[in-house]
């Protein structure tokens, strides 16, 4: 199995631990990750889609076209990137006039969108292609006793008619991926509610966007979760950096809760060290309970 790893912005430029842990875990399952040379910002669906849909589609189409040149499907680690590239691919595959429009724009750089590949989220590949049974065979340090508050984020699931990941109200995929590590995915209030970062709200209205995050943190703490777990680099930033902004810049009181990306949690259960997975590079320190796994 081979995938073109589309990095986006926040994964490589803010949370390289997400990139390192994903590469390590995929390598352990024998999945090759090739580069998407010269890829750019996806660009973010709620932000650039809100500025100019044509530019958004053209840059998205360009990124897909470069991946097509590597002859394999796209894998990615951010719901924003997934939202844009999966939706752009869907729109382009359904509408020949859009392909014509963006290929005219891409011609100067020598790229051409063909519509021959799929865009997949890393957890989708782990769940549907590697499979829970194979993952279980690779668990050397089961995460017994760790309670995990799963945060799906919005653009992995919605709009469900385009994403095709099943129920957007009661998803199961990531909970199953957590439980197979030996950890326990716990229910908490407003589990499927947004982190607050998307749609340009974090950029334009930081304090308001962090109100979502404050609720997330309090709701996860209320059920005794040991960590928040995400599958999106942007949610990850909002929930990790956001806690320090809430207590620092905005003087809110909260109990810090560590934030992990799924492949970091899985990496721990597969025997990688916290340093190899970049877990100690987060703003909110890991608890001893997690570090002693």
């Amino acid at each position: 199995m081979k995938y073109a790893y589309f990095l986006g912005c926040i994964t490589p430029n803010r949370y390289p631990g997400i990139e390192a842990s994903t590469r390590k875990v995929f390598d352990a399952f024998g999945i090759e990750c090739v580069e998407v040379p010269g890829a750019s910002c996806c660009p973010a669906p709620g932000v650039f889609g809100s500025f100019d849909l044509k530019t958004w589609l053209a840059i998205g189409g360009r990124n897909i076209a470069i991946a097509e040149e590597q002859n394999c499907d796209i894998m990615l680690t951010c719901n924003g990137c997934y939202g844009t590239l999966q939706e752009a691919n869907h729109l382009l595959q359904e509408n020949p006039h859009l392909v014509e429009m963006i290929n005219e724009i891409l011609a100067e750089e020598g790229h051409q969108y063909k519509g021959e590949i799929q865009v997949k989220h890393c957890v989708e590949i782990l769940h549907n292609e590697v499979g829970l049974d194979t993952i279980k065979e690779h668990i050397t340090k089961p995460l017994d006793g760790i309670k995990v508050a799963v945060h799906y984020g919005c653009h992995f699931l919605k709009p469900s008619e385009v994403r095709g990941q099943g129920s957007s109200e009661r998803p199961r995929m990531v909970d199953e991926l957590v439980n197979v590590t030996g950890a326990e995915s716990v229910d908490y209030k407003d589990k499927i509610v947004c982190c607050g970062a998307g749609g340009g709200v974090r950029t334009r209205e930081l304090e308001k966007s962090l109100l979502f995050t404050l609720d997330k943190v309090n709701n996860a703490n209320a059920v005794g979760a040991d960590c928040l777990l995400d599958i999106c680099a942007f949610c990850h930033l909002q929930m990790d950096v956001g806690q320090t902004e809430l207590t620092g810049k905005f003087g809110k009181e909260l109990d810090n809760i560590p934030v992990l990306f799924y492949t970091q949690l899985l990496g721990l259960a597969m025997g990688f060290t916290p340093d190899e997975l970049g877990i100690n590079m987060h703003q909110i320190p890991m608890s001893d309970k997690i570090l002693k796994i």
Binding site: P43, S50, S168, R204
Partner: protein
Amino acid sequence: MEFVDEIIETGGPILGSEHMETLRVCMQCGKCTGGCPSGRLTAIRTRKMILSALLNMRDEVLSSDELWLCTTCYTCYERCPRNVKVTDITRTIRNIAGREGYLAKSHRMAASYVIKTGHGVPINDAVKESRKKLGLSEIPPTTHAYKDALKGIQTLAKKTKFDELIDFDWETMNLKE
């Protein structure tokens, strides 16, 4: 042109006319506002915004700060009993607001980073160090590492007139003003 028609004609070429036409069938039940995570915490009222659009209150809708409080979580889109594509209508209204000069400086700034570096969130020295420690390439294999690819993004931004939309100055490689 009526504002409703303008919204449908603006979003139609990219998102599909049928998709955008759903705006007309809103029955004002309020399920969008009821489920809106932002509406719990901020002043955004999705039902009211759709009503204002249907009543052709163009200036009020385009100039409102509330328009920019949607996180594009798609909860309204998923739950709408009439299948109104609310989030995509919101994105389209924002496209029109942008053309009318209502893009916030912070948003234009984020957009300018993409023209300057290819990334909305560019790398910094601390992260370069972290990448090395993790055994990753110091510079990721993106527009950061490929100068020709960055030129490709800049050409693209000129072609779609994205540079003009955000008032980008090619002399200073920054926002105008």
